[in-house]
C-alpha cells in the first residue's frame, strides 16, 4: 500500500512533461496568436496537402520495401543455429548504433553527382546519373535507416515458428509458395504489424533524411513542422496543427495494425 507513493514523483513528471505538452500542441493548433479559438490553422493545412501526401506516399513505399526485404532476411536468420542467430542479429543491429545523421551523411557521399557510385559507373562510361536530391534518394534513406526496425520484430516472431510445422506442410504436399502464404506469413502476423508501425512512424515524421538526400525539393511534413518552430516561417500555431495531423495519422496506422495482430502484444 505504501509503495504506491513511490510512483507519485513520476506521475507528476508525466503530467508536466508528457500530458501538458501534448495538451499545448492541441491548444496551439486551435488558437490564434492572440489566444482566440480558431480553425484557421487546420484549414491552412490545405496548402500543405501535397506535402502531407508525399510524406505518406514515401513512407508507405519505404515500409513495403522494408517488409519485402525483411521477410526473407528474418526468416533466414530465424532458421540458423542458435549461436549464429545471435551473430547475424548483431550484424543487422550494429549500423543502428551509429547516429542516423552519420549514416545518412554516408549516403550523400555515395550518391552525389561526382560521388562514388557515379565515379564507379564512369569507369564503364555510363552516367553520371542524377542519384541524389530526388524522391528515390529520400526513400532509400528511409529504408536504410529503418530496415532493422522491420527485421527485429519479424525475427522475434519467426524464431518461434516450429520447424516441424513447416516440415509437416511439406510432407502433406504443400508447395514452397504455399508454405510461405499459408504457414509462415500467418504465423508472423504480429511481427509484420509491429514492423510496419516501427518503420512507418519514423519515416512519415522524418525531416532530416528528406533535407539531406532530397535537396530541398522533396520536403516532407516533418520539414514543414520544423520550419514552423525553428525555421524562417515561425508560426507555432500552424506547426502545432501540422503536428496534430501527423499524430492522428500515426494513431490511425497504429490502431489499424495493432488490431490486425493483437492476440499477444510484443514489445
Amino acid at each position: 500500500m505504501k509503495s504506491k507513493i513511490l510512483s507519485i514523483p513520476y506521475i507528476i513528471w508525466m503530467i508536466i512533461f508528457t500530458v501538458i505538452p501534448l495538451g499545448l500542441v492541441i491548444f496551439f493548433a486551435f488558437t490564434t496568436q492572440s489566444g482566440e479559438f480558431t480553425f484557421s490553422n487546420i484549414v491552412a493545412m490545405n496548402d500543405y496537402l501535397d506535402v502531407l501526401f508525399r510524406s505518406i506516399e514515401f513512407s508507405v513505399i519505404a515500409t513495403i520495401i522494408c517488409l519485402i526485404l525483411g521477410l526473407p532476411v528474418s526468416y533466414l536468420i530465424s532458421r540458423l543455429a542458435r549461436g549464429k542467430q545471435g551473430t547475424m542479429l548483431m550484424i543487422v543491429i550494429l549500423p543502428m548504433w551509429i547516429n542516423f545523421l552519420l549514416r545518412t551523411y554516408a549516403w550523400m557521399t555515395l550518391l552525389e553527382e561526382n560521388g562514388l557510385i557515379n565515379r564507379f559507373l564512369g569507369l564503364f562510361n555510363v552516367g553520371p546519373f542524377n542519384l541524389i536530391n530526388n524522391s528515390g534518394a529520400v526513400i532509400l534513406g528511409m529504408i536504410y535507416n529503418y530496415i532493422p526496425f522491420m527485421i527485429l520484430p519479424l525475427y522475434s516472431v519467426m524464431t518461434k515458428i516450429d520447424e516441424s510445422v513447416v516440415e509437416a506442410a511439406q510432407d502433406l504436399g504443400c508447395s514452397g509458395f504455399h508454405i510461405i502464404t499459408r504457414i509462415i506469413l500467418p504465423l508472423s502476423k504480429q511481427g509484420i504489424s509491429t514492423g510496419i508501425i516501427t518503420v512507418f512512424v519514423p519515416s512519415v515524421s522524418t525531416f532530416i533524411i528528406s533535407r539531406m538526400l532530397g535537396g530541398g525539393t522533396n520536403d516532407l511534413i516533418g520539414d514543414i513542422i520544423e520550419s514552423q518552430f525553428l525555421g524562417n516561417s515561425y508560426n507555432p500555431h500552424l506547426g502545432s496543427a501540422m503536428a496534430l495531423v501527423l499524430m492522428v495519422i500515426v494513431i490511425l496506422i497504429m490502431s489499424l495494425f495493432n488490431q490486425f495482430g493483437s492476440e499477444e502484444a510484443v514489445i
Binding site: K2, S3, L6, S7, P9, Y10, W13, M14, I16, F17, T18, P21, L22, L24, V25, F28, L69, P72, V73, Y75, L76, I77, G83, G86, T87, I91, V92, L94, P95, W97, I98, N99, F100, L101, L102, R103, T104, Y105, A106, M108, T109, E112, N114, G115, Y144, I147, G176, P202, S205, T206, F207, M212, G222, E226, F229, A243, L246, M247, V250, I267
Partner: protein
C-alpha cells in the same frame, strides 16, 4: 531455390547496410578533402578532430547530459515501476498507456511539444533553453524505457520473498533494500544502459530543446553535414563504429562464455 533466393537477398541487405559505413571508414584515412578520390593514407582528419573544440565541447555536453538524465530517470523510473506494480489493474493500465506515449510518438512531436512547454516556462519565469531544458527533455523520454525494463522483473519476482524477510524481522525499508532492489537490479541496469544510449544518440528532441547556447554531439554533427564537406565526420564515425563494435564483440564473447559455462555446470551436475 527458395533458400538461394533468401540467401541472395540477405547478402544484398547486409551489403546495403555496411557499404556506406565502410566508405566512411576508408575515407576517414584519406589525405585529401575529397569524398570521391582516395589520394593517400593519412591520419590528418583524426588529428583535426581532436583539435576541433566545437566537437570536443559537444562530446562533453553529450556525456554530461546523458549521465545526469539517465541517473535521474533511473531513480524516478525505478520508484515509479515499484509503485505502479502495486496498483489496481485499471490505474496501472492507464499509467502504462501514458508512459508508452513518448516511446511511440514520433520524436518530432515529443520535441515540439516539449519546446512549447519550455517556451511557456520562459514567458512566466527566467527559465532559459540550454542544459536544464535538455536534461528535462532527456529524462522525459528515458523514464519509459526504465519502467518498461523493470516491470517484467517485478512481475517475475516471488511476492513471498518480501513477506518472508518481514517475518524474519526485516522492517519494510530493510526488506525493500535487501530483497526488492537486488531482485530487480538486472532490469534497473539494462534500463539505465538503454537510457544512456538513447540519450547519447538523440538528435531530434535535443534539436528542438537545446536553444542557441548548448550543442550536443548529434547537433554538431548536423551542422557539419550542412557544410557538405567535413572529413572530420568520417573520422568521428570510424571511432564511434569501432568503439561500438568492440563493446558488442566483448559482450557477445562474455555471453557465449557464460552460456558454455552454464551448460558445462548443468552437464556436470547431471553426471
Amino acid at each position: 531455390m527458395n533458400k538461394i533466393l533468401s540467401r541472395t537477398i540477405t547478402s544484398i541487405v547486409i551489403a546495403f547496410l555496411y557499404i556506406p559505413i565502410l566508405v566512411l571508414i576508408v575515407f576517414s584515412f584519406n589525405a585529401s578533402k575529397s569524398r570521391a578520390n582516395f589520394t593517400g593514407f593519412s591520419l590528418r582528419w583524426y588529428e583535426k578532430l581532436f583539435h576541433n573544440d566545437a566537437i570536443m565541447t559537444a562530446l562533453l555536453n553529450t556525456i554530461i547530459i546523458a549521465i545526469i538524465s539517465s541517473l535521474l530517470a533511473t531513480v524516478i523510473g525505478t520508484a515509479a515501476a515499484i509503485g505502479i506494480n502495486k496498483m489496481k489493474p485499471i490505474t496501472k493500465a492507464t499509467i502504462m498507456n501514458v508512459t508508452y506515449i513518448p516511446i511511440i510518438n514520433p520524436e518530432i512531436i515529443t520535441g515540439v511539444s516539449l519546446m512549447l512547454l519550455f517556451r511557456a516556462f520562459t514567458v512566466y519565469s527566467n527559465f532559459e533553453f540550454g542544459f536544464v531544458s535538455l536534461i528535462l527533455a532527456h529524462i522525459t523520454f528515458n523514464i519509459p524505457y526504465i519502467i518498461y525494463s523493470i516491470i517484467p522483473k517485478l512481475r517475475q519476482m516471488n511476492p513471498n520473498l518480501v513477506e518472508a524477510a518481514e517475518d524474519l524481522g526485516c522492517n519494510a525499508r530493510q526488506a525493500f533494500f535487501k530483497i526488492t532492489i537486488p531482485e530487480i537490479m538486472p532490469g534497473v541496469l539494462s534500463g539505465f544502459l538503454m537510457a544512456i544510449t538513447y540519450s547519447i544518440d538523440d538528435f531530434i528532441v535535443s534539436y528542438f530543446n537545446s536553444g542557441t547556447t548548448v550543442e550536443t554531439l548529434p547537433i554538431t554533427i548536423y551542422s557539419m553535414t550542412r557544410k557538405k564537406v567535413s572529413p572530420e565526420i568520417n573520422a568521428l564515425s570510424t571511432i564511434i563504429f569501432i568503439v561500438i563494435l568492440a563493446i558488442l564483440i566483448i559482450r557477445n564473447i562474455l555471453s557465449n562464455y557464460k552460456l558454455r559455462k552454464e551448460k558445462q555446470e548443468y552437464l556436470t551436475s547431471r553426471s
